[in-house]
Amino acid sequence: MSMPTRTRQHHRLRRTRHLACVTVLVLGAAACGDDDKSSSSTDTSAPSTSEIAVTEVWARTSAAGQANGAAYMVITGGAEDDSLVGASVDVTIACETQLHETVPAEEGEEGSMTETSTTMKTDTEMGSDTTVGSDTDPCADLDDMSGDMTTTTAAAGSGGTDAETDDEMKDDEGMDGAMTMREVDAIDVPAGKKVVLEPGGYHVMLIRLIEPLVAGDKFDIELEFEKAGKQTVTAEVRDE
């Protein structure tokens, strides 16, 4: 598959600036169960010929006691290059939603994967606290654990520079299936190209599931594209 290198770099520069507001957007939307499609400010350049198509949206059934889940899908780019910059689910599904990526680990541990877990931003700074029932808020304990907890992971924490990506690639050589997982600010959706969110790669991480995900259940995920705006898709819970 060809790598649109210049496009990616371009996106990354913009992503850095968008990081803060995207996060707020994701949390805000999750907290409010926001369905509104009023993304007119971002879709002025919406493609007129073909739109982004999202198919095969699914999440695995959750095991007993499993705190976090993941949703997967296939995104086919529209008429122009775009990127997925956020995702959210209703508060009845999970406390928070993030875009994540499982990638080869940097440190070369044999066959190991690094995953960051139980991450939760304090809601006070996000202003979403008021939209969640205070007495029965299943996410409240996360808020109480640490007011300073952050979702910032390796990428953003180390600067998330473009140069870092290339260095990592070189370091990865010769490693035996070792991977790491981290939050990403955006997932490129090149025009007309398929981007697959799948186990071991990109996924929409559902942090602190409210109820177990049961086979056959369906739930909505609101995707936020940088240019095309919001699109709500329905995930099917599968026992696979």
Partner: protein
Amino acid sequence: MNVRSTVALALALAIAALAGACGGDESASTDPTKKDSSLAGIERQPTPDVSTVTLPDVSANGQPFTTIADDGELLLVYFGYTNCPDVCPTTLADVRRARRLLGDDADRVDLAMVTIDPARDTSEMFPGYVQTFVPGAQALRTSDATKLRAAADAFGADYSVEQKSDGEIDVSHTAYLYAVDDTGKLVLQWPFGISSDDLAHDLATLLDRQSAETN
């Protein structure tokens, strides 16, 4: 596809190719018990011996459990943790699916998951988690860090659980799934991303081998 995903895929393919998994995928998917002796997993040389690894099984009130399969059976061993959103459930779900593909032989494949995050994976909740994937599976948990490290070393597994200054918990762990025979030998291991079809095929092959040796 992202740069890193490409690398991951390339690595996975390289591993699969090295292990001789290039052929027979389709036939394996239609009949996982097909008598094709090539294995998708990795056979280590020399074969590690894990028959001395004993950990408390919190699904049985903490009774000591030794990582040896029952006679004529196989024991799958996985080092992971329940807060894991992507790789652990993916691997364990593949085990579940592979066991279904094995049909009647499913009962000859057991699972023991070792938690590398005993602080959060409590004795109360951990058995339920692992038994979601395989009924009757062992939930191995020790809060003795030395013992856990020794167990992982025997398998060649590695892990770390670090709480960073901002409260975030970073967990890393070996993503291999291990197969142990009824003598406590680590006969095969699979990297993350192995298909449940290949897994089922390998398990059927290993079970056949084991039966042939005992007969």
